[in-house]
Symmetry: D3
Subunit: 339 residues, 6 copies
């Protein structure tokens, strides 16, 4: 295992993900596969598998389903000591896996979850951040209402004050909040962010970044990233680019900018096993590369190869090794059996 | 199939029941068996299997998990035309199956469910009850808050006004509401009830019925039932009696009173497959017998044999035929293969 | 749900479909997935999901496997009140799912089934058709012997007499009957048919329609359809067009003619989950469009998009919503997760 | 493995057995466990596991389900070279596993099976029996119609003529044929039988053996056996005795007579996993003991211990070793883990 | 969770346990349930669930199966930082679950495992034991050959030197080593042991403790324990007592001595789900009680109730809470559903 | 079934193959699918399905897992009479199924297996080869150490002496032995080989065959084959050619030379279900064609179509019929359902 001497903290909601078996539709399901997930925890799990010490901060109910969620993170090496217990329920995500022309479908049952009732005094960020190097949170967290929002702001401000690097995955979800509210909240939060991950489309909708009218996708993506940097002073920006025509396969590439230097990765054609969590895998790949001091050209290839591999793994966690990511970068993806 | 020319309406919450496989504990579960349930709907399913036309009234979310719940009832012949769609979520019941000295364990995640937001104007009881003969509801319904409570009261009052017979399964659950509140609400509702199902213990706690200090269990049970009849004017009272020493096996019997006539059933020793829903199976058995004009002696044997068989079936539904119940009454429970 | 105020009746055999898990071959199977199916019932299920009231008419044995079959239809909203109980057995279809160069394989074990012994007096078509608008049957029904054949003829004649629109899916299966017999029977039945679904190849083999010697596939398909209309006076003809090179993916398109107007749909490239039932899904799509008053250009796109989606769903039932079909027509099949 | 230098031939129907999972009822099943079985083949499998060379004779369809059935026997060491291929279908046995007061339930779908169309010329008994020592058949075979009946008679007569020992398990099933027909056929066949297995009840119903009016079960069983010997000249008679009160547990014992010497085994109280096939396990145990020259006292203990162990194994096959049977006889059934 | 401020270290082999599903025999298995286990790790998992900080020390291969084993412990809260990676393989335990008269069966495939090649310099006991309070090891560890044996002796000696309390579960397995060798090795190790767990039978076979010729089981057990204390100076001795007649149910009790004070627990009749690991559950219960300062009377009831509950849980881990154990002690084992 | 009057013997290791479900990674697996396999036994199974009498020679442990392995071969018609019982363990192969850019991964746990301790006197090749026509072994066998190596040499020499045709699949695995050792051993063994299967790359690495520097893949493959023939006097050489870019799909073709005549097959694009065992399927196809007297042009098409079909079947066995292979050769691979 390639070890990095860094400690990364994440904050966000943890949920139970329930999937019908195989390609069954919800109305056919007599069984659900049960996995636990969370945008930020997914990042922690991937980093943990790469030798980074990670700490997931959240709030889950005190009952056994909450404990099962905690155990699920511990299993993959994430430290769960800062997870608060209490509140009413663990949010649920019903996920139906699509195929071909039928997209995957997600039903949210995550209102009234424990984390939404979190109170500032339940988390002592000074203690949590002591000796840590990085803090990561996604845009789905401040979307969870006033309580979570103020915890996120407090966490980001503390991280900045205590010298941790911060990353933010924009991840706008219209089912969680409106554009107006998102714009107000996120614009304020961006001042604490060093590394921004998000799409050009979100940049336009939320931050009012004007998309360039001409040029191809790559040109417009780069243009948007540079405007974001200019406006918010981001050190790094990562954007993934997805194309394709079905729920079974996709084209997948990305761009990473470090200041003014923007690099595009190679593009992969992917046969999809489970697409959910690939954005978090990309984010983890980018964080890993920045931690180990890579430049943007190297970082974008690692992050996109990590995201690419995630598509082949059931569930939200990117359970791959650094060596596996590097083999993909090195061009070994011929499918030859490893024996 | 033995057909009865009656139409029975039930009202109550519908929920998703999630079980780990076999005897796995919650923290071991990577898969949940998914079934839909509800105290009153369980009664409807059993009656439907016995040739009674049944109508389940409830409210479920408009999404596919709500639809799957509706489908689950339709599959077993229950009419779902009066189920209202809307609201936020379907309540969830996590059920872990115990064994021997380890009891089965239930985690409720049923707050904020669609039915709790039901509004009186969403149900037109005059139309629903038109041409129907019986209305059944359980004590878990009025425990779901003011909205459901007023719908229950309206339903019971309408049923009484329109000449339907009414049954009520007391089913006090301390996790849902306090004794004080239950006492106030239930006492008021009892005036509309013809057939009461519940335990002597509940009678004491909720209605302040004094348990007789002397005598064996049977005597005290009968004494409590007679007081209930005297106080609330119930036509019928059914009470099941359970003894035993493990989650794997139980002794099971019951008493049914019709006015002053009280009869006790034979007692069964049961090897338990799934105990959940056995109370609803007993209730369905009692309703079935009253519908077909049986006396209390006959009714109690049918109801308890129905409840007994439920213990052998996974899930909450009592999927047995009248003939199977009658074979048990007739003493054919030697385990000889039916071929 | 988009509701249509129509009532559709189908008649045909119901069977138990047994599949080895995943891509296992029959000789590897230690477990079978059990689903119930029938060409015409598949159409009813799809229509029922689109808000059409449907009634499946058939005959199944009086035992629990017959009941499980009935329940399977009820679950998806099909009215089963007219299903006759009796006879010896439910036919079985063993289905092995192929991949790549290995085609899916079907073993029929459907001789001596209950429906083959159906007697005319068991079905009162005047009563069944009362208040209904459409009758659908497939060519596999009259192939089941003299009893079923005369019921089909009686049903079609009654439908015509009572003013129902009729549809017929040709579906010639050489394992069920010879060409000669099929020609005699089907030619006679065609006089009652308003909407015909079938391939150009069947048209040639069974009805002796001369295929045009020149032109591409599209031209020849249109030429065959027009001859069929001319000869039998069909109001509508639907024909699907399939190309491709493996059991894992296919090209799929269709043509619909309304009188002289013939329209071809767009062509889809499909990653196949389960191809069985896609013809029935297409038929249901066409019926749905005619019921709602669409023209052939609109109808063919809906029907082929419905058929396309069926390929992504395990089992024979096309469990998709009108909205999902319309999203595919609208070009939303990028595989983007719905959340 | 304890080897015996004997070769045993069996003849009878082979079927597909389909079970819902666990204790699910038929109407709940979405999956069936698939196993292949046959009263006589079950005997062959048990003997094969005890080092006896066995040959199952039957007829199965030429398709892959027929082949899967053949493979299932080969897997457990039974020679299948004499199994004829052809005919329409493999019979099916749906088996629902009961519990407590709910008995296991079997639905037969075995009409029109391949073996029912067997023709005498398809089997050359002189060649089959060459070098063999024993022939076994059960009463379910002659119940399958005239074709099978005449093959059975020819086989028994050939076996007698060629010096093989013959055994017959009476096994009357009212679902297969009437008492009158059974009496006529079986009485004629008994003249070729050396070893008879069956219950006192069958002896009375079929052969008109008068049951003794007095005495306990044991006395009456012995009395019946002795009359059978007297009438038909059986060398050995084996009868199992079952008592108990539920589908989950049973008392189980047996009697074996060799001429006038009758011995009763110890009685076991059994927690039942799968009761089907326990009679065949008993028969195999008895044959094994006679082959190795045991006396009736020894034989009855082995046969009943073998039958006892079968109750603990899913499916119809008694997959236990001679050593395991002997450990039970030796009193080692304390449940201590073997490690 | 009841927390204890203690830190417990265990050392021993970790293995992969492979079980056929349900009651299937090995020769029927097409699927194995995969769990990771180890006598001492099982103790750590139970203690971890009761709020004790635990550290499992072992050696596993560097590949993914080794990692999966580590993850399995982390999931249940055990610290795995001291587990050494390397060597050839993870030992395997095939476990077949018996029923009734058929005992469970274990096949060892644990030779040549990574831990057998462990070298003293791979573990720094001074560092490992720093700040810890207890060290536990079982007799299966020194049975693994010279390397493991010298590591065990070094660990016990270091523990004694550094002031940790030590416990030793005798657990003689004849498949691993002979009595002579066990006697020599264990006698030497006993000098470092404070708390001894083992049976009277082992005491006799290994240490030559003379069993009292008279008296009942209880008397003889107490007599053996007292001799062990006298000879080796044990502070505590725990012995479980098992009776019963089947793999499906057992009687279970225990005795704990603190110096001269010996107390017997109540006896439980247990319906068995999975008996493997119940000894480790008892040991964990005893350690927990000693840590929290309980006396022997209290300790024995807790330890035996913990062992009792283990029988109801699939796998080797005793995933129960202190509250659940205390409810059993308090007599709440009526099987009443917890809701 | 197309029958061939030949008898084929294979020798090599048999192993247990354990796969996580679906595309799960090793660290996610809670269940393993269990299958038994071996390079040479895979060839025997394929040939057995094509009507060739086959005999697998190997050594497995005497316990039930060894027996389950034997049963697995018997099930598919392979004679197992010459399999020796004894030794310590059955080797294990953990196989994780890749997808897209993630290759399948194999972990070997096959050291210390029973076959590695085989002794010459345990196999009497004169008796085994009596009446047989062909002997097949793969390069993985002599890689298993001195014991197996000398058995392989003895077997090949005996086969040559007794007039059996011999085939050898080169199959170099660097995890099993070094190039130097392989070169020494294999060079010596090649003198007994008539039919060689292997890649041009292996030919270069092991036998020092100079690859032609120019020309395309086909030219270089043919050039290598001809040199091998010239050097070792092989009668036949078969080489498969694989291209492609993912674990989900591949291009697949082959070349077969008979003396100087080299023929290339058509190329298939394959959607992969399970790639493991496709080399053995190719080898079996080639042997089958040589046995039935086909020329190289015909042989290469059959062998590559057989290998192509193997990719669609879970597990290592190529369970396809001659007719299915021929349908692929005939161009019927459109995925049209066989019904």
């Amino acid at each position: 295992m390639s070890m990095l001497p860094h400690k990364v903290v994440t904050f966000g909601e943890l949920m139970l993900r329930l999937d019908p078996l195989g390609h069954d539709r919800f109305v056919q399901a007599e069984t659900f596969e049960a996995r636990y997930t969370g945008a930020e925890a997914n990042v922690a799990v991937a980093l943990s598998g790469w030798g980074v010490e990670t700490f997931a901060v959240s709030k889950v109910p005190a009952h056994e389903i909450g404990q099962a969620c905690v155990n699920y993170l511990r299993r993959y090496g994430v430290n769960t000591d800062y997870i608060v217990r209490g509140g009413d329920r663990l949010g649920i995500l019903y996920v139906e896996t699509g195929a071909s022309q039928r997209p995957s479908n997600v039903i949210y049952d995550r209102n009234h979850s424990s984390i939404r009732e979190i109170r500032s005094e339940e988390l002592d960020w000074d203690r949590i951040f002591e000796g840590k190097h990085w803090f990561h949170v996604a845009g789905t967290a401040p979307a969870l209402g006033a309580n979570v929002r103020s915890v996120v702001e407090e966490a980001l401000a503390s991280a900045r004050r205590l010298g941790l690097k911060t990353s933010f995955d924009c991840n706008y979800r219209s089912k969680l909040w409106g554009l107006e509210e998102a714009r107000n909240v996120l614009t304020r939060l961006m001042e604490y962010v060093d590394v921004f991950i998000g799409g050009a489309e979100d940049a336009e909708k939320i931050f009012g970044i004007a998309l360039h009218e001409k040029g191809d996708d790559r040109f417009r993506t780069e243009y948007a990233a540079k405007q974001l940097c200019a406006r918010f002073g981001f050190e790094w920006v990562g954007m993934s680019l997805r194309g394709g025509d079905s729920a079974s396969k996709n084209r997948y590439a990305a761009m990473v900018c470090y200041g003014d230097e923007c690099f595009f990765s190679r593009e992969y054609e992917i046969q999809i096993v489970d697409r959910v969590g690939s954005g978090d895998a990309f984010t983890a790949g980018l964080i890993h590369q920045i931690l180990r001091g890579a430049g943007p050209a190297e970082a974008v290839e690692f992050a996109v190869a990590a995201g690419c591999l995630k598509h082949t793994i059931p569930g939200d966690f990117n359970l791959v090794s650094v060596e596996e990511v590097e083999r993909v970068i090195g061009g070994e993806h011929s499918g030859r059996v490893q024996r």
